[in-house]
């Protein structure tokens, strides 16, 4: 008990975490089947509708979606072509391009056994997974590898209270010809912190909020030099609430990821 107290309150976590062996995979034979059953039950009986990011208020028809999809494919092909030409010209060797090529998929064993926002992956350090590697999911950035060992890997989600990153706001608008256009709202990055309740918050001045024109459903995208270049502009979440802060002249912006990160079944780790 004395050792527990010393480890919890006196010894620095940087030292005690080395002794915190990664043993998550040991519980995988129980956690994964149980989680899969719970996930199936949740999907079977819940009525979570798929969100249409292009029209969050009202889901569009199939015809509208097909038209937009075709336009996006053409635009994507055009941008990729431009990118290839820029890459050829650029002398620096930076990692650009489709992020999926830089990632490896891993199954999720389960969530944190305590009150934190973290995931346990069915991966080990032998899978070339190391600390601080970004972790992605289809809706954007999930978090970073917190601990990687021979017994398992733990991911700290962006919604965990210890998570901090800088991001900026962006929005999809429609150009005159109907093509969706991705428009950054401000050049300055803001600090986004996890609140530990599957949410994140950012606090900015009212003046800045007015200048940016932050609205609900605006995208929050990564703008942080501590993260790989290939992830700059990658989606972190969406704005779900803007409320006045206790400090006068400031507002609190609540940001939520696209999905419940604690219920992800598979993630991609950027380990290449």
């Amino acid at each position: 008990m004395l050792l527990s107290f010393l480890s919890g309150f006196i010894i620095s976590p940087r030292i005690s975490s080395r002794a915190q062996a990664s043993v998550q995979n040991i519980f995988s034979p129980v956690a994964r089947p149980v989680g899969a059953i719970a996930h199936w039950t949740h999907d079977r009986f819940s009525h979570d509708a798929v969100r249409d990011l292009g029209s969050p208020g009202a889901t569009r028809t199939s015809a509208e979606l097909i038209v937009e999809n075709n336009r996006l494919r053409i635009r994507l092909a055009s941008i990729q072509g431009q990118l290839e030409r820029l890459r050829e010209r650029d002398a620096e060797r930076e990692k650009l391009g489709d992020v999926r090529d830089l990632c490896s998929p891993f199954n999720v064993i389960g969530a944190d056994s305590g009150p934190r926002d973290s995931l346990m992956l069915g991966a080990t350090s032998f899978d070339h997974v190391a600390e601080a590697m970004p972790v992605l999911y289809p809706g954007g950035i999930a978090g970073r590898v917190w601990r990687a060992g021979i017994g398992g890997v733990q991911v700290m989600l962006v919604t965990d209270s210890q998570s901090k990153l800088t991001a900026s706001f962006a929005r999809f608008t429609k150009s005159p010809d109907g093509t969706p256009e991705f428009k950054p709202l401000a050049a300055d990055a803001i600090l986004v912190q996890g609140t530990g309740n599957k949410k994140m918050t950012a606090q900015i001045s009212q003046r800045m909020a007015g200048e940016i024109g932050v609205r609900l459903e605006d995208w929050v995208v990564l703008s942080d030099r501590d993260w790989p270049t290939a992830l700059q502009g990658y989606r972190v979440g969406r704005v779900t609430q803007v409320t006045p802060a206790r400090s006068p002249g400031f507002v609190i912006i609540r940001i939520e990821p696209d999905s419940d990160l604690m219920r992800l079944r598979e993630v991609m780790v950027m380990n290449k």
Partner: protein
Amino acid sequence: MRWLSYFILAYLTLGLQIGLSDYLTIGSARPDLVLLAVIFIAINAPHDAALLGCLGLGIMQDLTTQNTLGLFALSYGLVAMFVVSTQQVVYRAHPLTHFSLALFGMLLTSLVLLLHAWIRGPERLSPMLMFYSALYTAVLAPILLGPLQRARRAFAFQPPRRKVRV
């Protein structure tokens, strides 16, 4: 106490906690199934075995959480110390006993976690959320501990030895 049964209980409980905890969430309150195992061991096992077993459960949970190593071990050790001292005065199979011990245990665990967050940080925990989690765990206690009490034979808990004075 039969340690094989203890380790099987610990393994299953931690596996369920890892796999199910988020799906059992109501609002943002998450139950602590491992604490229920701690209550079960502490209320039935002899003094030394109970303390050791509960401490072991805490250490195992520390290895599967993002929290600092030692917090759950300390929490469950304190819970075990209290519960063991009440062994002689409570009805071990009564649902109200399970509810009250689980509520107290979870509040004590929450207090340790909140103190750590306040003193050392950098994580932030919501006191109200921890309280709701404590209530939720306490409500689950009679439901889960009741059937588990019926399986206590598998653990071969030995009654405390009486001191014979000559």
